[in-house]
Amino acid sequence: MKTLTKGQKVSQGIGIGKAYLYRHYEPRIVENFIDAQKAEDEIVAYQITKKRAMEEIQKIHDMLLDLNDEKAKIFKAHLDIVDDVAIDEEIAMHIKDSHYTYTYAIHLVYDMFIEMFSQVEDELIQERVADLKDVKLRLLRISDGVEESNLATFNEDKIVIANDLYPSDTATLNRRFVKGIITEVGGKTSHTAIIAKSYEIPAILGVSDAMIDIKDNDVIIVDAIKDIIVINPDESTLNTYRLIQQENLDQKEKIKKYLNKTSITKDNVKIDLSINVGSASQEELSFEPYVDGIGLFRTEFLYMESDTMPSEEKQFHVYKKALSHFKNKPVILRTLDIGGDKTLKYMALPKEDNPFLGKRAIRLCFDHLDMFKTQLRAALRASVFGNLWLMFPMVGSIDDILKLKILFNEVKQELDNENIAYHKDVKFGVMIEIPALIMIADMVCDLVDFASIGTNDLTQYLTAVDRMNQDIASYYQNYAPSVFRTIKIIADEFNQKHKPLSVCGELGGDLIGAPILAGLGIHKLSMNATSVAKIKQMLHHYTYDELKNMADQIIQFKSEQEIIDYVLKSHKEKGVNDV
């Protein structure tokens, strides 16, 4: 038995299962030759590798098909490619004529086709390049004798251990059997953290050397409450944890009872709670009865999950689905926020030294006006089906706001000219994440209908801490006193002018952050659907004056730790359940 206390929890709970070490395969490509007489054997060896690749792909394809997952069609395309007659012929030729090993022949031939595809001026073909690369990698891995690593095909409880997980990895993640996630890099706001949270999978990230300390099939306990990882626990430890796990589930049940209650304080002050969504899936929309709206529709997932630029029609249908489902309740749609840690398969983004300070979100959109206008058109067209609030990310100046307004009006004008209907009263708002906006809060407030604070990026920019840089993770404080003071400035400004202000970052759905924000005068909080019951429960234990008083105290504290201790002590006195 061994314990690790590195890393930080990003999704609470206890997970128990067998370790599964997930590695991205890195091929070693060497120009090697065979004896001329052995060409036929080499071709047979290629055929065997190819057959195994087809079996692997077929298995993933069938599994996705069973789950009714539309990603199955990607693997159908992979099957077509790996079994292509022309590729077979080319590889056989390279073996027979040039006496290359079959692995080197695979490398040459696939790269030839990748090059050929790259030259076709057609974005649909560009997308196939990713497929060719995937298939090539699979063949090389099999020929290298390395087992397939994917997060889909499990049949017992697993704890996934990885250096990092990409969206393509989590896309096929098995939600039934993956009981915990441990990665070597990443923090509270990484992609892995967001996925783990929304799937309610306990996760500890930033565990350096996890891939060395943990071996495949070790029994692992992820204690994502106390930030402890236990490797191969003894019987009594395992039993203790099973008990804690059960207690946890019981507490969760207690909290869940609050889901269908109104989000009010003990003395009936209403705090609007909304949810953050990524795709308007049935699961996300099913929370509608329990909340006051969608506080953040992250439209970038629509772009990231697709192999090509999503068309106006496709976007229109997704937005329409969310808007018509929420009827009169506001749906805050954030326009494309790409760049920083988020990239697109089909759009080459410039490599930057400081991507978070670089061409991100609206800065990128201003350079791709066709793409930007397509999104605005789709959103405006969908606006007739509900209550649309349109919000722009990475706004840093009044110039930005004016530029966006001109563009917004241009798109409206275009729709008018084409006699296409849209709601005349679509709200125009900005994300508050660049601190500069807070210094000019009065001017911003006059120009917008509403604003929403993205606390993750605001904290990163305000405290100059790159939230992806593991080396300085300890400088990123979730409850920095400076952040709360900054939020107070903007809250006072918006409240004075009676303009809606919400928080849609992690802080809004957090048991320590939410009561302070409410006390600072923010009456709209948006969060992951899984946090709604928890926050309602907390609100029911306080009067509004108590929250205000808490915020008044907090604003005078000098350190993050003082804030945490104060709020947790208060929760304990009030009997707030914490899971």
Partner: protein, 90 residues
């Protein structure tokens, strides 16, 4: 040798599923089958190869020529033209 020209009518052209359907149909014939775009006659693709067919970048409203050589050449060309004209159910 037997050949015919046909205009692509389905929205996504010979990509994705339609491309796959086209190639899979080609594979059912014994004849060698080739396809090329009328506007780019120098690039001729093996119609039984998805990678070659894709690399032609065939889109809606383009005219292509399908040419077959072998025992079932007429049947092959006619059926391939028919599947294109059907719009692949898109």
């Amino acid at each position: 040798m037997y050949k015919k020209q046909v205009i692509i009518t389905n929205p996504s052209g010979l990509h994705a599923r339609p491309g796959s359907d086209f190639v899979n149909l080609s594979k059912q014939f014994e004849s060698t089958i080739k396809i090329h775009r009328i506007d780019k006659p120098e690039k001729v693709a093996n119609a039984k190869s998805i990678v070659f067919v894709l690399s032609l970048g065939i889109k809606k409203n383009m005219t292509v020529e399908i040419e077959a050589n072998g025992p079932d050449e007429e049947e092959a060309v006619n059926q391939l033209v028919a599947i294109i004209e059907s719009g692949f159910g898109e």
